[in-house]
């Protein structure tokens, strides 16, 4: 039931007051006295030999402090990769060096070559125009299959080829999968592309480096989703600064969608340069730079096949995917098309045999890494398009074919053939809810109404499942992760009873300050206004792993609950002392400790004051103070799932697709703040519809970025979207975390692209054009028209 505070209340986001009144403090708002400005000079060629850089004329320009090239970065390491994938043959992936500034070669448009640091940004930019950079252009590799061809130009000369890895999963199943295909009653196959995207958060990346000469301490202010991860990677691998001498602060962050997880060259550079120059150094990305330097997302080319028996049970699935890594391995890049993708290929179905092959390929393009959903949208898109195609090919209802193959509620926990164990779920329930909310029964009449206007109406569904709450450290360690993926929290109870939470999670728009306070309010029984959430600064929060993979509440929230339980246990001991009762008899309810079965009680603040003013306190058995830290490492992923429905109208004359309705029925487990959850789904749907309909990061054959600005890269706008119907009333609580939560941040972007494409194909088939079985995203008017003509 909705209530005023605590779990389940649609409490308004407290952080919005500052965001909406211009009082947010973002990295670009940080200006340190005496700061200099860095301007990165980037390659305008996709591939070339860097012969020489003459900096003399630039260094003579007014205001220039220093021009840096790779030669000036002696002792600086390469940007590390956080995950090692082992290939089908037991070999580690090829892992090229990723220098902070180009060494000997440029490998993509946007690759940083030099940095001008000057008194003002304009001076830095003026001086940059005076740099004499001599590059011999080389042929570029852009298309992944071409990059793997014999004799293709190599992105990295010291590697054996452009193949990063050839991954098979589960390799031991391959023969059985092939045998199942050989004996299948039906085989359905589909070739498709998962289009490359640019995250484009509203706030571009910014980094400010500062150095304190007398202490030798470095500070980096940066637009990051995980400041501790940046401190670890940059401190240990790039700059060689111990954690005790390096503070990383990520203040308010204006969106990330994955692109602000990674450690970037610019962060290392400003930290390094600040120490070298003994001056703060600031870099603020332009939007143009963001297009060519923020990690991109998706970019898979896949062939997927489904085997079915005569009764239309799925018997086997196999996929063959080429995944673009770009020119260098970004922080989590190797993991995305493998462990976050292959492990989800079972989807919501009980397909017994699955084999996934992924070839990760280096090309002369911007590095590709996680983007909202990260691997799971790619898996879901292939699978849900294929199941839809199967239904059409077999002449059965796409909904019924899905239902027939769904894992049923009594089958949980469910071991899939791709390593993961789904703890709980009810896929029929979300499908029922979707069909009800989308008025599926009334679709035929709506289609007829559209037809009367010369338009083709279609309805498409997609089921999805994702693995969130990333991640059990021992499991991901076996899979190649070079870091743990627990989360941390410190609960500091102040003397008068207010609480400060220091969390290793980091909000870049999710509303943690509101939802985390709601959980505390619920558990202690004090007003949420008494709870302050602190995040984003390595100097005051325990080492945490940050926010991505819809993990904050499931993992960070669980750490906080664990620390709160420690606090409550101690507080009960203090209350027991004050009430002269055994702590086992103390009950905490509504902010009051009571001796069970009596009217003897003491308020929360009475206990907290006693903890810090321990005049009447069991000092012989209990330390004063009330502050606890906990680290929570999940025992499994969480598995949000749901069913999405999209209704479109296609204009056959122009190919234009209009999204008329979109319905999402999600099972996120328990929900702390329904309003925030709905907002997360709305945002995810906008991005998923953006991918399906509008967004396309395109390169030409020479490796030039064609969609390098908003003039050519189509972001979804409000009028591209319908009013959404979202529902999260189908709840199967997560069985293994204390809040029973699953995570909601990525679902919208995962389930929506296949639902939309399925709807367009339905519209086209509904008009009798059953020859059109697939159109690659984005479904722009020109592409749809071309498919029809």
């Amino acid at each position: 039931m909705p209530k005023d505070g605590g779990i389940g209340a649609s409490t308004k986001r407290r952080e919005d007051v500052r965001f909406l009144t211009g009082k947010g403090r973002y990295t670009d708002d940080i200006n340190i006295r005496g700061q200099a400005y860095a301007h990165f000079v980037r390659s305008d060629m996709a591939h070339g030999i860097l012969n020489s850089i003459d900096t003399a004329a630039a260094e003579a320009m007014p205001g220039v402090i220093k021009v840096f090239t790779a030669a000036d970065l002696a002792g600086v390491g390469g940007i590390p990769t956080g995950w090692q994938v082992t290939d089908r043959h037991g070999k580690p992936m090829q892992e090229p060096k990723h220098p902070v500034l180009a060494e000997g070669k440029v490998r993509h448009v946007g690759d940083p070559i030099a940095v001008v640091v000057a008194e003002t940004l304009d001076q830095a930019r003026d001086a940059a125009e005076m740099l004499d950079i001599d590059i011999t252009e080389l042929p570029a590799v852009v298309d992944m299959r071409a990059a793997l061809a014999e004799g293709a130009p190599k992105v990295h000369d010291d590697l054996t080829s452009n193949l990063c890895y050839d991954w098979g999963f589960v390799e031991e199943n391959k023969a059985a999968v092939d045998a199942a295909f050989a004996s299948a009653a039906h085989v359905v196959s589909l070739d498709l592309v998962n289009n490359r995207l640019v995250a484009n958060p509203m706030e571009p990346r910014v980094a400010v480096g500062d150095f304190e000469d007398h202490s030798g301490n470095s500070t980096l202010y940066t637009t990051s989703q995980n400041p501790h991860v940046i401190r670890l990677l940059m401190g240990a691998f790039v700059l060689g600064i111990p954690e005790s001498k390096l503070r990383v602060v990520a203040p308010d962050v204006g969106g990330g969608f994955g692109s602000k997880i990674y450690h970037y060259a610019e962060e290392a550079f400003v930290t390094f340069a600040a120490k070298q120059l003994k001056r703060p150094v600031k870099w603020t990305s332009t939007r143009s730079e963001a297009f060519m330097s923020d990690a991109h997302g998706r970019d898979h080319v896949t062939k997927i096949e489904l085997a079915l028996d005569a009764d239309h049970n799925f018997t086997a699935l196999r996929t063959d995917t080429y995944a673009n890594m770009g020119a260098y391995l970004s922080t989590f890049a190797p993991c995305i098309p493998t462990w976050l993708h292959g492990t989800l290929m079972a989807g919501n179905y009980k397909t017994p045999l699955i084999y996934v092959n992924v070839k990760a390929v280096f090309t002369n393009t911007v590095p590709v890494d996680a983007y909202r959903g990260a691997g799971r949208p790619e898996a879901t898109f292939q699978l849900e398009r294929l199941v839809d195609k199967a239904a059409r090919q077999l002449g059965v209802s796409p909904v019924e074919l899905r239902r027939k193959n769904f894992i049923k509620p009594d089958q949980f926990p469910y071991q899939t053939p791709v390593a993961v164990v789904y703890d709980t779920g009810n896929y029929d329930a979300t499908m029922d809810k979707l069909l009800e909310l989308s008025d599926h029964a009334g679709f035929a009449a709506r289609r007829a109404e559209s037809a009367a206007r010369g338009k083709w109406r279609g309805f498409g569904v997609a089921s999805y499942i994702e693995a969130c709450g990333i991640a059990p450290s021992n499991l991901v360690g076996q899979l190649g992760a070079r870091a743990g993926l627990y989360e941390s929290a410190t609960v500091r109870v102040n003397a008068t009873g207010s609480i400060t939470i220091f969390t290793g999670s980091h909000s870049h728009g999710q509303g943690h300050e509101t939802t985390f306070a709601q959980v505390v309010s619920e558990m202690i029984g004090i007003d949420a206004g008494q709870v302050e959430i602190v995040h984003g600064d390595t100097s005051n929060t325990p080492m945490g792993m940050g926010t991505y993979g819809s993990r904050s509440l499931a993992v960070g929230g669980s750490a906080m609950v664990k620390a709160l339980n420690k606090v409550i246990n101690k507080a009960k001991k203090i209350a027991g002392h004050l009430l002269e009762a055994s702590d086992e008899d103390i009950v905490l309810k509504d902010g009051k400790f009571t001796v069970a079965g009596t009217d003897k009680s003491v308020d929360w603040s009475g206990v907290t004051l006693a903890a810090y003013v321990p005049h009447n306190y069991p000092l012989d058995s209990l330390e004063p103070g009330l502050e606890e830290t906990a680290f929570y490492d999940p025992s499994n992923f969480t598995y949000p799932a749901g069913a999405y429905g999209c209704e479109v109208e296609v204009d056959p004359e122009t190919g234009k697709v209009t999204v008329l309705a979109f319905t999402a029925a999600d099972d996120f487990g328990n929900v702390v703040n329904p309003m925030i959850v709905e907002g997360q789904v709305h945002g995810g749907l906008a991005q998923g519809i953006g991918q399906a309909l509008l967004e396309n990061c395109a390169y030409d054959a020479e490796g030039q970025l064609l969609s390098a600005s908003f003039m050519d890269y189509a972001m979804p706008r409000a009028d591209d979207l319908p009013m959404f119907k979202v529902d999260h009333s189908c709840v199967t609580p997560c069985t293994h975390n204390p809040l029973g939560v699953k995570g909601c941040g990525e679902a919208g972007a995962i389930g929506s692209p296949p639902a939309l494409v399925n709807a367009v194909i339905d519209a086209i088939h509904g008009a009798g054009r059953t020859d059109v079985t697939h159109i690659n995203m984005p479904l722009t008017p020109a592409r749809v028209w071309s498919a029809l003509n």
Binding site: D122, R125, D126, E129, S288, E653, T654, G655, K656, L694, N696, A698, L706, S707, F710, M711, D712, Y713, A714, M715, T780, P781, A782, W785, S786, N789
Partner: protein
């Protein structure tokens, strides 16, 4: 952006004089020029603002049609031309977004002659006259290809005079990212015949589709162009549409414009 001098004259004569400086560049609403300068792709030494010249602003009914001052923003045209020339007002009201419409001007758009801009199609289809500080230029003579016009160095558009057609409509099919015209068609029916001008599609910028004009002059209805082949002009091919697609969309949008007129 590089540094520059900025002058804001109040008369056309002063503007013309200011433009005689080396490296001087006229600035109207700045919707193209300012982003170009921010990208450091243009670096004029002197910007001569035309928006302080009252004589170049406003919409009024004059001899032979509607006279629009060249420095009139799109939003003002959208509001004030509505009573006289609804199709033109509609076009102006759908350029860019509110910020663009409040700053961008008709004269700026025509002087720039972006191949995807909306206004050139209205000027060409209406057989409008482009008035400068020196002369009057017929629409058919004014547009000379991609970003290219009959304007000479230092010549300033002061006014555009639109004959008002009996019926007219502009239909724009948006490029999904920029929302400039992927294809925009302005159809104007005058007593003496129909003119059809196409923007967004042609490799040489705005053009008249004369076969459609002939067919529609014979009978102003959608079916009149049903059997026409798409125009023969060379079409733009890019990320957002092939030449073949654009050609076909010219036909579809022409039909729709006739239907809407």
């Amino acid at each position: 952006m590089h540094n520059f001098q900025f002058v804001k004259p109040t008369t056309v004569a002063d503007a013309v004089a200011a433009l005689e400086h080396d490296g001087a560049q006229a600035l109207s609403g700045g919707q193209t020029l300012i982003p170009t300068m921010k990208q450091r792709l243009a670096a004029p030494e002197v910007l001569v603002s035309l928006t302080g010249i009252d004589a170049m602003k406003g919409v009024c009914k004059g001899d032979g049609g509607l006279h629009i001052g060249a420095a009139t923003p799109h939003a003002v045209v959208a509001r004030e031309a509505a009573a006289y020339y609804p199709a033109l007002a509609h076009l102006a009201g759908h350029i860019g977004d509110p910020a663009v419409r409040s700053r961008g001007t008709i004269g700026g758009s025509l002087a720039n002659n972006d191949p995807s801009a909306c206004y050139p199609s209205a000027v060409l289809a209406s057989d409008a006259v482009v008035v400068t500080n020196k002369r009057q230029i017929a629409a058919d003579d004014y547009f000379q290809g991609l970003f290219s016009t009959a304007l000479q160095l230092g010549e300033i558009i002061t006014e555009i005079r639109f004959p008002i057609p009996e019926r007219a409509a502009y239909v724009k099919f948006d490029q999904p990212a920029s929302r400039f015209a992927l294809v925009g068609v302005f159809v104007a029916k005058f007593a003496g015949g129909v003119r059809v001008a196409v923007t967004g599609a042609g490799e040489e910028g705005v053009f008249r589709w004369k076969e459609a004009e002939a067919a529609l002059s014979a009978g102003f209805h959608m079916a009149a162009i049903e059997d026409l082949a798409p125009p023969k002009q060379r079409m733009i091919g890019d990320l957002h549409g092939t030449p073949e697609y654009r050609a076909q969309m010219v036909k579809v949008m022409t039909k729709r414009a006739v239907g809407a007129a």
